[in-house]
């Protein structure tokens, strides 16, 4: 079979200038380029190329770009992928064309459940892992009454549902929840409701700016003194957007942080030299996924989607990012996750030093078990 069109072309689709630009964006492009350079720049003697596009966080833009890449530009695999909505739309197109989709930053569990496909490789994390990783230890530590402030769209609903399940399974109770429209800037009413619910933990089932604004509101009204605030999806960039006093000591879950150990530090250092900024979980994941993909192409001797995916699933990924890892038949990359605590201002050695490791969580404890319907090894 060999390499189609005599080159391997990887498309990186990400939000380059919008809400999630800092989480993946151009950094993901840099990470993919770095992986290619580390791999040697060529596979099976054929050049490896990167194209990238801005999806503006819009599913329509993302899917149109992917369509054009596949129809016209002969792209062989697609990486990046930030907003789940864009990712799922891109997946529809890529799956139909049987091209691998290396999802580094999107969080929806749908990629390996409702909308699973043999061509998805869901890499860095998903919201289920975050909820499990964050909520379970807190319930165990005595936080029994929970209130949810939930972003009113599918992502938020899913996050709440998964987390509520974990709470109830572990003997806690959900005493109330409120659905907040996306992009709300003023959370005072919702904070008041949380306050009058008597909860001892308030979970923020939202992300990005919604997370930042709701946390600000909570501290303004003193909710953070009455109850423990729990961020269910928190990126390092969100932490940096907040006054350290507001978020210090919050416990949360992540798949990667740069100051963890020597291996992550070494890679982060190199990334920083190339790109100028400290890598995020998504960017590290993009590197890891690309490297694994290229290895699989080499071993399969072709860039044909089916063959490469089979090889990727047959070999265990192993690098500074993917530890104790495997790419399951359903496309889920299961690996160690970390429960961390946000450091106080005076604990931080530098701007990047924001997390302290509390606990390493084994992948199979936090990720959902494989959905039988998505077990493509059996088909």
């Amino acid at each position: 079979e060999g390499i189609s069109d005599d080159k391997v072309k990887i498309g990186v689709l990400a939000d380059m200038g919008g809400t999630y630009a800092d989480v993946c964006g151009k950094g993901c492009v840099a990470a993919v380029e770095m992986a290619i350079a580390d791999f040697g720049g060529k596979v099976l003697d054929k050049p490896i190329e990167v194209v990238s596009a801005d999806d503006q966080n819009k599913p329509d833009v993302g899917s149109a770009v992917v369509r054009e890449w596949l129809d016209k530009d002969k792209v062989d695999a697609i990486g990046g992928i930030v907003a789940s909505s864009v990712g799922l739309a891109a997946a529809k197109v890529a799956n139909e064309a049987k091209k691998p989709l290396l999802i580094s930053t999107a969080g929806s569990p749908a990629f390996t459940t409702k909308q699973c496909s043999p061509y998805n490789a869901h890499w860095a994390y998903d919201v289920v892992a975050l909820a499990n990783g964050t909520v379970k230890p807190l319930v165990a530590a005595g936080k029994k009454k929970w209130f949810f402030i939930t972003a009113d769209y599918e992502f938020g609903h899913a996050l709440e549902k998964v987390s509520a399940g974990v709470i109830e399974k572990n003997g806690g109770e959900v005493v109330g929840s409120v659905k907040v429209p996306l992009g709300t800037t003023d959370y005072s009413s919702y904070i008041l409701q949380a306050q009058s619910s008597g909860a001892d933990a308030v979970a923020l089932a939202n992300a990005g700016k919604d997370f930042v604004n709701s946390l600000k509101g909570a501290s303004e009204f003193g909710l953070n003194k009455q109850a423990t605030m729990v961020g269910l999806l928190v990126f390092s960039s969100d932490v940096q957007a907040l006054d350290p006093a507001l978020i210090a000591d919050m416990r949360l879950t992540t798949g990667f942080f740069s100051e963890m150990d020597d291996k992550t530090k070494e890679w982060s250092q190199r990334f920083k030299e190339k790109f100028g900024k400290t890598p995020t979980m998504g960017q590290a994941g993009a590197y890891s996924a690309t490297l694994h993909y290229l290895n699989a192409v080499k071993e399969a001797g072709t860039d044909d989607g089916d063959a490469v995916m089979a090889k990727m699933k047959a070999t265990k990924p192993d690098d500074f990012f993917a530890r104790n890892a495997e790419l399951r038949a359903d496309g889920r990359m299961v690996h160690d996750m970390y429960q961390v605590r946000v450091k106080k201002a005076d604990e931080r050695a530098n701007d990047d030093d924001i997390f302290a490791l509390e606990q390493t969580l084994a992948g199979n404890e936090v990720y959902l078990p494989m959905d039988a319907a998505c077990d493509f090894s059996k088909k």
Partner: protein, 310 residues
């Protein structure tokens, strides 16, 4: 022979449209055609009735969502799906129009904007739209039950046919007895009333027509991309269609199409790679430049140039 002579220009254009997909990426062309139709429908209100609607995204999205939902869930043929989307937009146009045509100028713009925003939040929260994710994987289906549209080329010709139909309808209504009344209303509304014309009904009719054709564009677009998302309902989309019309030349027949081609082309150019963050700045600058220096738009200026020099 007479027909060929008087329609020379149009015939050349159509011939060009028939061969161009062999040179240019058809999905891009289809996007231009869909937005061209959308802008032309919008221009029916702005250019020919003189009313700036700042909420036309509502109709684009309604067409798209209805068609998308029916195609995914009701197993319709594409032409029926599109018809339903168009009808839904017409009904919505009737509702919005009844509320808004009482007002004029900027007031009208604001009211349409607010109404479409209401609809945006409805689409955001209603279950059948799949919220942020949008309707994905909408099947293109088989035209009349036997022409498979999954092939981009056959889809292109179908879109071209829809476009020509819509475009012809707009041309026709501008140059019809109805269009003549619209012109009179734009020129002197109180006088039109005193001549016995119930002006609101005419405006409403034009609004419904414009909404239906916008819906047609939205429905077709949903099939082309097999996806319908909130982008189409967002107020920025309403702004974008204004931009297309303005760039191309409001009140001209071909302006909206040219404007759509320019704007879609620019967007495509900037969405690739590193330039993405400049897109809003560029769009904004085009707006400013058009308003300050080229109020007639490309086609408008061209017409003026031809008139002055030949």
């Amino acid at each position: 022979m007479e027909f060929i002579k008087s329609n020379k220009f149009n015939i050349i254009l159509i011939a060009l449209a028939l061969v161009i997909p062999f040179g240019v990426y058809p999905v891009f062309l289809m996007k231009v055609l869909c937005f061209g139709l959308f802008a032309a429908a919008f221009n029916l209100m702005l250019g020919f009735v003189g009313m700036l609607s700042f909420g036309h995204a509502a109709f684009l999205a309604t067409g798209g969502y209805v068609t998308g939902y029916l195609m995914s869930n009701a197993d319709l043929t594409p032409e029926l799906g599109i018809l339903c989307g168009t009808l839904a937009s017409a009904v919505l146009g009737y509702l919005f129009g009844s509320l808004s045509v009482k007002r004029e100028g900027i007031y009208f713009a604001m009211v349409t904007l607010a109404l479409s925003q209401l609809l945006f939040f409805f689409f955001l929260q209603a279950p059948f739209t799949e919220g942020e994710n949008g309707l994905q994987g909408i099947p293109r289906g088989k035209l009349f039950g036997f022409i498979d549209l999954n092939n981009n080329l056959s889809m292109y010709y179908f879109v071209l046919a829809v476009f020509l139909l819509g475009f012809w309808l707009i041309y026709r209504s501008v140059h019809s007895p109805f269009g003549q009344v619209l012109k009179a209303i734009r020129e002197n509304e109180p006088r039109a009333i005193s001549l016995g014309y119930s002006v609101r009904q005419y405006k409403l009719m034009a609004f419904v027509l414009s909404a239906a054709l916008s819906g047609l564009a939205g429905s077709t677009k949903a099939l082309v991309f097999q996806l319908e998302s909130l982008t189409d309902a967002h107020w920025q989309m309403s702004g974008e269609v204004v931009l297309m019309t303005l760039v191309g030349g409001m009140g001209t027949i071909f302006g909206p199409l040219v404007g759509a081609a320019v704007v879609v082309g620019i967007e495509n150019f900037f969405s690739g790679g590193e330039l993405g963050t400049y897109i809003h700045i560029i769009m904004g600058l085009i707006f400013i430049i058009c308003v300050l220096a080229f109020r007639n738009g490309i086609v408008g200026e061209f017409n003026k140039f031809v008139k002055n020099n030949f």
